[in-house]
Amino acid sequence: MPKRVFITGIGIISSIGNTVNETLDSLLSGRTGIGGITLFPTIHQGKFPLAEVKLPTSALLEMTGHAGERCYTRTALLGMIAAAEAVRSAGIHDIRQYRTGLLSATTVGGMERSEDFYREFLTDAGKGRLRDVMNHDCADSTDRIARHVGVKDFVSTISTACSSSANTLMTGAEMIRSGKLDRVIAGGTDAATRFTLNGFNTLMILDKGGCRPFDENRAGLTLGEGAAFLVLESEELVKREHKAILAELTGYGNANDAYHQTASSPDGAGAVMAMSLALSMSRLKPQDISYINVHGTGTQNNDLSEGVAIEQVFGDHVPPFSSTKAFTGHTLGAAGAVEAVLAVLAIRHGLVYPNLRFETPMKELHIRPETTLQKGLDIRHVLSNSFGFGGNNSTLILSKA
């Protein structure tokens, strides 16, 4: 019997709120975070929407006590804010009292500043401010988050594209299970950048009108930004400190689709494997799952592949499901953790979120997402999918404890 791993704290900042409470409020009132592009100049302004955190970087600097400083990227600041909220929410006063690790995920790190640097650098290799590029790598934000919340025992970064932060949660749980650490703060952070916006545009998978996951007429994803962290703690720690438990991480699985560098296989092989691994680890049957928070990016390829995989795994027992990316946009490296926080809120408040902007069921599928907010349910187990480039498929199962 593997050791149990509990979630005792959550923190989130995204386009639908700067705190857990604001996020919950937006979810309850059906308020999407998708809007226009204001963060950076781009020729795509007015053409594609974006789900921006509704605060300029200067405000994020102030919130973290670094007003006026120039070495913090937006990615780092978002992560610092969400991780600090998670630590507060877990009632941690002395973080060094237990062996604590920080595992963070990001896909582009400090790219938003590298873009500024590179513009100058391209004209002359002696130009461009070095302080705009020295925080480029993925570890920069993680190290800064670790210092911000005082984590020292283990600090590392996972970057597996859009499944990155689901994978930090998985690793954190494995480290606790194997006795290496008592507590792990796991999650991810990514700021919106021209790099990713243009990248997804070259693949022609950005929806001009805002993403419509699982809709027959879906035209792609909407990029978002944000950060989310969860505090994972061992059973021993939780008992000794009489900690309030928000949820339990009962299952997880990672598998590789090994089909194509970016596209998912038509039969959703990797997704089926990831979901099956998670179910088997949590010793649950498909009919035990109360709600699926799907990866549901809104691209033709993902939603079909994921839908086929869900039908295969769940058969006649497909529980209510929805994609919350129509609220938050696709927050890339943060997405797995953002959706894990939403899963915790679903369990705590008995909710199933609506899949906004859904109109027409997909003709290839028998299933359709929930379109209205469901309240007062007994949500016992939430299955959350996160799939990324490189065929990286991850599933988490969060349970009522």
Partner: protein
């Protein structure tokens, strides 16, 4: 519980692609940029795919395939990679085109391949490997993070075997940027003379070193991978020294029990100071081997150091080109100690099979 290194694959600026040879003909480079020797990538990658692949992907796939071939394994159970800066060439290409063309006329290939898990994903794709697939990207401990996770999966019984490795590529823009940051030596000199040069900075390198890890030893085992640990933001040498002692004590060892220390010295007096300080005190009299004059400095250079330690244990001798003092009397335990600009230290303990 033990983890064994049962096969190896190493693409580097040295002739390391063939595991039957061990640094017999060291290659010296003039200047501060050491690039990997092309092992004949066509042997490892289908020709229609090779054109689109940047060097980091080629290096990673070639090293993986050499490693898996030696292991006699067609498809590993899990793939865990570490890379400090990931696919720089593709990132620079996409970013450069984006800026030059003002966000127009962009093609997806370099964006797709800029993702940090590209190497692991491409290996999985080529091998049709559906297993666990992770990528760590954390400066000087990217490879160590991958190793820690790989060992944990083997110890927990989650994976029967793991293909794990460290890979980074050197590009001209990244070299130029780090040159301006003062990372590299200004005056050209033969790379093999790195440790005789006292000017500031080091030399840049790259490479891909992969390892096949299993719970059971085989006739081909190189070394026992006893343990890996990292240290974040140490306050000073006392904390580092105490951490090393604590780490070794877990395996019933003291610094004096180490047969050979492989520190990550890179010829930059400022970065090497901490190694010298503890070598003169805690590790006084311990035989030393250094390697960054062979592969250059990069964020996953410790994977080359781990390759060196494993090869030394298998061959039972320390090549002259890496020996810094008297040869060890016996080879039981090798400690690979590295740090990345002092914020991240790592220890990798290898023992004789």
């Amino acid at each position: 519980m033990s983890t064994y290194i049962n096969a190896i694959g190493n693409i580097s600026p040295q002739k390391t692609a063939d595991n039957h040879h061990f640094l017999e003909e060291p290659v010296s480079y003039e200047g501060s940029q050491l690039r990997s020797i092309d092992p004949g990538y066509k042997e490892f990658i289908p020709p229609d795919l090779i054109r689109r692949m940047s060097r980091i992907i080629r290096m990673g796939i070639a090293a993986s395939k050499i490693c898996l071939k030696e292991a006699g394994c067609a498809v590993p159970d899990a793939i865990i990679t570490g890379t400090g800066l990931g696919c720089l060439e593709d990132t620079e290409k996409f970013l450069g085109t984006l800026i030059r063309n003002n966000e127009e006329f962009l093609t997806p290939t370099s964006f797709i391949q800029s993702t940090h898990n590209t190497v692991g994903g491409q290996i999985a794709l080529l091998l049709k490997c559906h297993g666990f697939n992770f990528a760590y990207v954390h400066r000087g401990i990217s490879f160590e993070s991958a190793l820690i996770h790989a060992m944990m999966r083997i110890e927990n019984g989650d994976s029967k075997n793991v293909l794990t490795g460290g890979v980074d590529e050197l590009t001209t823009p990244s070299f130029e940027i780090m040159q301006r940051m003062g990372f590299w030596k200004r005056k050209p000199m033969p790379s093999l003379q790195l440790f005789h040069d006292t000017t500031r900075g080091t030399i840049a390198g790259e490479g891909a070193a992969f390892f096949f890890l299993e719970k059971e030893k085989t006739a081909n085992s190189y070394a026992v991978l006893k343990g890996v640990e990292t240290l974040f933001d140490p306050a000073g040498s006392e904390e580092i020294s105490a951490w090393i002692s604590r780490f070794l004590a877990q395996y019933g060892l003291k610094p004096a029990d180490i047969s050979l220390l492989i520190p990550g010295m890179n010829g930059d007096p400022k970065q090497d100071r901490i190694y010298h300080e503890l070598i003169d005190t805690r590790f006084a009299g311990i035989p030393l081997a250094c390697y960054k004059h062979l592969c250059g400095e990069y964020m996953t250079a410790s994977a080359f150091g781990t390759w060196l330690g494993a090869m030394i244990l298998k061959y039972g001798s320390v090549p002259d080109v890496v020996a810094m003092n008297e040869p060890p009397r016996s080879l039981d335990h090798i400690l690979v100690w590295n740090h990345y600009r002092q914020t991240h230290h790592s220890l990798i303990l290898l023992s004789r099979v």
